[in-house]
């Protein structure tokens, strides 16, 4: 398929791997921030082409995984209310909360619908004036502009039966949290290409400078990732710590200005809890006061409670890049994609789920 196959081509992949092999003189650890990149790396076996001296560490960039249990519980509770049509992206449906998930709510009679965009939820709201439509707004900066557009559209249409549970999270504060950790072993980053296609990469420049790490904005296909790794290693070998852009076909330094303006007009920055990591200051979006009537958390009376993560689960260590999924005793035993204990086993883009699916030795 044009514009896809070229980036999955064996000969070019081996060429890049060869270049990397010739260039590296010592051990390096690079974190790919985004779950989509983790998925690609494990699915295509990109790490198998790299020399042993290069370690890829999988970061916290799966929005499904890091959505806190408390919010999943709220979603499940609201979705179970009579008269509510609960709309969500597909991969949030089976994410377990503390006692249920949205698929089970649906099985018990809740009206839970899978949508591809919040705009779909707006249409459902317009077509069902006697129902309450709630959209589960999850995702990084990539999906936030469309959520913002949906809020403005709801306002314009005067929809008072539409609201959303907002759990948008932001990448730069997570990178800072990872870098501020004690014994952080990460020497370079691959930034998430799709997030940067919206945000640009100016906000990564002070991070590279302050923490002395190279950051390469990178795409998601095997050759994108190999080129990103190559650019990052080249900086490390040369002692440079700059922000570079591998994903030229999608990302500009300034990003998508109208999208950024749209988000700023609807959301303000807030602290947010990340599943497996904990509270990160200024790491998420919430609706601005003038749009608070669209806040499902305020509209519906839902129980709020703190949920402890299972003690056996080392997802925090995995999400910070200190440990690999294999190092967890629950991995593939008590913890599987059917019964995940921790965040990275939840979505197919989580590091544990990707390892389970593509790497775990079973049976034979």
């Amino acid at each position: 398929m044009k514009y896809v196959s070229e980036y999955r081509e064996r000969e070019s992949a081996l060429k890049y791997a060869g270049l990397i092999g010739k260039m590296v003189t010592k051990d390096w650890s690079i974190m790919e921030v985004c779950g989509g990149q983790t998925h690609s790396i494990v699915k295509y076996g990109i790490d198998q082409l790299l020399p042993d001296s290069v370690t890829l560490i999988h970061g916290p960039g799966c929005p499904v995984c890091v959505t806190p249990i408390e919010l999943i519980d709220q979603a499940a509770e609201i979705a179970g209310f009579e008269n509510v049509i609960f709309c969500s992206f597909g991969d949030m449906l089976r994410v377990p909360g503390s006692c249920s998930d949205l698929l089970r709510v649906k099985a018990s009679g809740g009206d839970v619908r899978m949508v591809y965009s919040p705009i779909d939820a707006i249409q459902i709201a317009a077509g069902n004036p006697d129902k309450e439509i709630v959209f589960f707004a999850v995702g990084f900066e990539t999906t936030a502009p469309v959520t913002a557009a949906a809020v403005l559209q709801a306002e314009q249409l005067g929809l008072d039966n539409f609201s959303m549970l907002v759990s948008h999270v932001l990448v730069p504060p997570a990178i800072k949290t990872v870098l501020s950790g004690e014994d952080c072993a990460i020497q370079g980053f691959l930034a998430a290409g799709h997030v940067c296609s919206v945000m640009g990469y100016t906000e990564y420049e002070p991070i590279a400078e302050k923490y002395g790490v190279p950051i390469v904005v990178t795409g998601f296909e095997p050759l994108d990732i190999l080129e990103g790794v190559h650019m990052c290693l080249k900086q490390l070998e040369q002692g440079r710590t700059e922000v570079e852009n591998q994903y030229l076909r999608a990302v500009s330094r300034e990003g998508n200005r109208p999208a950024i303006e749209l988000m700023r007009s609807v959301f303000e920055i807030t602290d947010r809890k990340w599943r497996g990591i904990g509270r990160i200051p200024d790491s998420g979006f919430m609706l601005r006061e003038q749009f608070s009537k669209f806040d499902a958390g305020k509209k519906f009376k839902v129980s709020s409670h703190e949920v402890d993560e299972p003690a056996i689960c080392i997802s925090g260590e995995v999400l910070r890049g200190n440990k690999k999924p294999f190092e967890c005793v629950a991995f593939g035993e008590e913890c599987t994609p059917e019964h995940p204990l921790g965040a990275p086993m939840v979505s197919s883009e989580g590091a544990c789920a990707a390892y389970y699916r593509y790497r775990l030795a079973r049976k034979k």
Binding site: G45, F89, M114, E338, R357, R362
Partner: protein, 351 residues
């Protein structure tokens, strides 16, 4: 003598796991297999059922019969490339074909919702009649029930079928051997994407048609050639990945396939890219794999390519000695990974 009565048995899936059936229990992945293993087989276990073939192979006098059943609950009822009527006939005929049987007789059970259009019912029934003619089966018995409005999705159709297995044919996962070739009959993922596109209102540049097709003529040709076919499986829910896993899990071997050899139509691939699906897990209704001795592989491909629906047939891999996983794949860039059975259903990804 085992004196446990069925009524004394405790449901083996702990209630805390899944107190209710979810859609994922019908998705063709691991949850569905769990349900079959732990509830259905647990209650009904017998040697014929436990062989977990596409149909049951029954000794009847001097010969053998194959017996299979399939229920059809598809939305929309009419889709590019077919409809529920055609599907309900081909589905069972194909299951019988996978046992090496010549499909002969079908039953048809209809569950129809009150208010369902008579004209639509007629279209469905005509489709079934045409599909029966095309595949050489007769619908010889049936049943019709009507349920209250709101208690069915228009129409559900169950078919069961009986076919005759020619003397000397023995096709079963237990015959799969190390060194066997794995032949795929054509490009994958069309049915699932065609249905998804309509159901979710996703439009592509041209319409993707379901691959729905009868397989009995093509399997008949393979058998007439005298090829020593060890196993066949039609790739329906759960796609190629689940089909291969089901076969491998019943043998002492592993299956290793090459991603670059698996044909996928560009538009199916494009749709999968947009939705975050893996074509290996997307449903088909007219594709199957044949596992047979390596030396017969090329000949099988030639025969398949002689049929319209087999033009893109390929040897996609081989059965190998037991490895760390049931099914492995060499990726397009040359690395190796596990092809696992799907967990529940494939769900579109956020980004």
């Amino acid at each position: 003598m085992n004196d446990t009565r069925i009524t004394d048995m405790i449901c083996p899936i702990p209630l805390s796991d899944y107190p209710e059936i979810t859609m994922a229990h019908g998705g063709g992945g691991r949850l569905m297999n769990d349900l079959i293993d732990r509830v259905i087989l647990k209650a009904f276990s017998n040697p014929i059922l436990d062989s977990r073939h596409d149909g049951a192979v029954l000794e009847a006098g001097k010969g053998k019969l194959a017996f299979a059943t399939d229920s059809h609950v598809i939305t929309p009822l009419f889709f590019p490339g077919g409809d529920i009527g055609t599907l309900s006939v081909y589905g069972t005929v194909n299951d019988l074909a996978m046992c090496g049987a010549d499909a002969r007789w079908l039953s048809a059970g209809f569950i129809i919702e009150e208010g369902f259009s008579m004209e639509t019912l007629w279209r469905v029934v005509v489709s079934m009649a045409e599909a029966s003619m095309k595949t050489g089966v007769s619908i010889v018995t049936g049943d019709t029930k009507v349920v209250d409005k709101g208690k069915g999705d228009g129409i559900y159709i169950n078919t069961a079928g009986i076919g005759i297995i020619p003397a000397g044919i023995e096709i079963s996962p237990s015959r799969v051997r190390e060194g066997d070739a794995v032949v795929l009959s054509g490009d994958i993922g069309r049915h699932g994407i065609a249905i998804m596109a309509i159901r979710e209102g996703i439009r592509f540049e041209s319409t993707i048609r379901s691959d729905l097709a009868p397989l009995n003529s093509i399997t008949g040709d393979l058998l007439r050639e005298g090829l020593d076919i060890h196993c066949m499986r039609d790739l329906t829910r759960g796609g190629l990945a689940s089909g291969l896993n089901e076969i491998a899990s019943m043998t002492d071997c592993s299956i290793r396939i090459q991603e670059s050899l698996i044909p996928v139509h560009d538009e199916v691939l494009g749709a999968c890219e947009i939705l975050g699906f893996d074509p290996l897990y997307v449903a088909n209704e007219g594709r199957f794999v044949v596992i047979l001795p390596r030396e017969n592989g090329e000949r099988a491909v030639e025969i398949l390519r002689g049929h319209d629906i087999g033009r893109q047939a390929e040897i996609i891999g081989f059965v190998e000695k037991p490895s760390y996983a049931d099914v492995l794949m060499i990726s397009s860039i040359g690395s190796e990974r596990i092809i696992d059975m799907m967990s529940g259903e494939q769900l579109p990804r956020i980004c």
